[in-house]
Point group: C2
Chain length 255, copies 2
Amino acid sequence: MAWHVFIPDSLLEETDDPKIRTYKVGQVARACAIFGVEHIWIYRAGGRDGKFIKLVLEYMETPQYLRKRLFPLMPELKYVGVVPPLRTPHHKLKGKPRVGDIREGFAFRRGKRVYADIGLDELAMVEGSVEGRWTFRIISVRPLRVIPAKPTGYWGYRVHLSGKPLAKTLKKAGLNVTIATSRMGLDVREAEIPPLRGEVGFVFGSPRKGVSELLGGEFDFDAVLNTVPNQRTATVRTEEALLATLAVFNLMRRD
Amino acid sequence: MAWHVFIPDSLLEETDDPKIRTYKVGQVARACAIFGVEHIWIYRAGGRDGKFIKLVLEYMETPQYLRKRLFPLMPELKYVGVVPPLRTPHHKLKGKPRVGDIREGFAFRRGKRVYADIGLDELAMVEGSVEGRWTFRIISVRPLRVIPAKPTGYWGYRVHLSGKPLAKTLKKAGLNVTIATSRMGLDVREAEIPPLRGEVGFVFGSPRKGVSELLGGEFDFDAVLNTVPNQRTATVRTEEALLATLAVFNLMRRD
C-alpha cells in the first residue's frame, strides 16, 4: 500500500509572513513523514504557491548532507531553518559504514568513474552508471563501494506539482481508493470506510473552497468523510486536517 | 465530560525563534479549541517558558474585542498576529444584539453602575455586581442590559500554570481518567481504552523526556498509549502528538 496526499496550491493564501509560510509547508512535510505518506500532489486551485510548496517539501525530504548539492542558495529557502527536521529512516547520520547499509546519495561522473556522496567522510565509488540523486547500498567498506538499490521501509515522499485542477490530478495519480475530507462529509465514526489497499489517496480542500466545490462533480470519490466530527472551531486548517486525518487512518492501516 | 490536556513548560526548549515559539503555542491553542478541550495544564519540567505559554494561550482564548482591555502591550505578544484565530463559538462577531444572546464581556464600575464591554457598539448595563471578565446573557436590547450567565456548549479553555511537577499537577487536577501518551505506550489499536467519563486528562511529555521519565512512578495512569503507532519519524513533537491524539480520542467521544 502507498499513501498519496492531495493539497491545493492555495494552501498558503491566508498566510503572508514568509517565515510562517515556510513553517506551514514544514508542518505538511512532518505530517506526511510521520505517517509514511509516499506521494504529495499539489493541485491547481487558484493559488500562486505551488512551486514554493514543492521546493520546501523537497528540501525537507532531502537528507541534510545532500541539500547543498541539490539546492542552490535561493531566497525562497531563507527560512527553512525554522522547520524541525523529518528524521525519517532515510535521513541517516554519519556513523560508521557497514556492508549492506542503504543510504541516499548523489552520484556524479569524475573522469571515467562515477562517485556518490552518501553523507560519509569519503565519496563512494559507484558500480553502475547512474547519476544524480539515487538510493545506494554499500557493498564494500574498504574501498567504499556502492550499487544502486531499492530502499526497504519508508523512504520519504515524492512531490508532484501537477499544474492541473483536482479532478485531472486525481486521474493522473491512478489511485485504487480515493477519500476526500470535508466538514460536509459523513462522520467518519459512522461511515463505511472502503478497504484501504493499493494506492490510497487523501484529498484536502483549500482554505476557501472545500473539495466538492473545487471538483464540480468531475470525479467520484470512494468516500467523502468528516474526520473531525463535532469540531468546535469555525474552520479546520488544511495542515491541521492533514495531521488529524492521517492520525485517524493510521489506526486503520494494517500493512 | 470535560477534557484536560497536560503540557510541559519545556514545550519550546528546542525552538529559539520568537515568532515560531509564538506560532507553536498557537498550534496548541488551535488543537485544544478544535477538539473542545476545557483545561490546559502547564506542568513544571525544567523549562523556562511556562509564563509565556500561558500568556499566549490566554490571549488566543480571549475574544478579539476584549484583548485590548485584558492584555497590556507587551513584548512577549509581539508575534501573536501570526497565529490563526480560534473562531470558537465564544469569539462572537459584532452583529445585531438579540435578547438571549450569550456573549463574553468585561465588566467594570463607572460611578454607581456596572457596565460591560460585550463587543458591541455600546456598553451594556450589568444587572449584578460582577467585575472583570465574565459571561453574560442579553436580557434587553433597548436599553442594552445583561446578566451574568453560564455558557452553553464549548466556551474556550482555562489555562493553569501549576508551577509543580507532573505528578503533583495531576493530583491537583482531580481527574476521573488519566491517559498518558508515549511512544513506549501500548498501541492504541490494541489497548483496552478506559471508558471516558467525567474529567478526562491527556498527558504529553516534553521534547526531551517522555511521561514515565518525568513522573518517576509517582502516579498511576489509567492507560499509557501510543496514539501514533508505527511512526516513521524518530520523534513526534508535542504539538503534533497533541493534535493526533485528540483526533483519535475525538472519535471515541460520545457526549
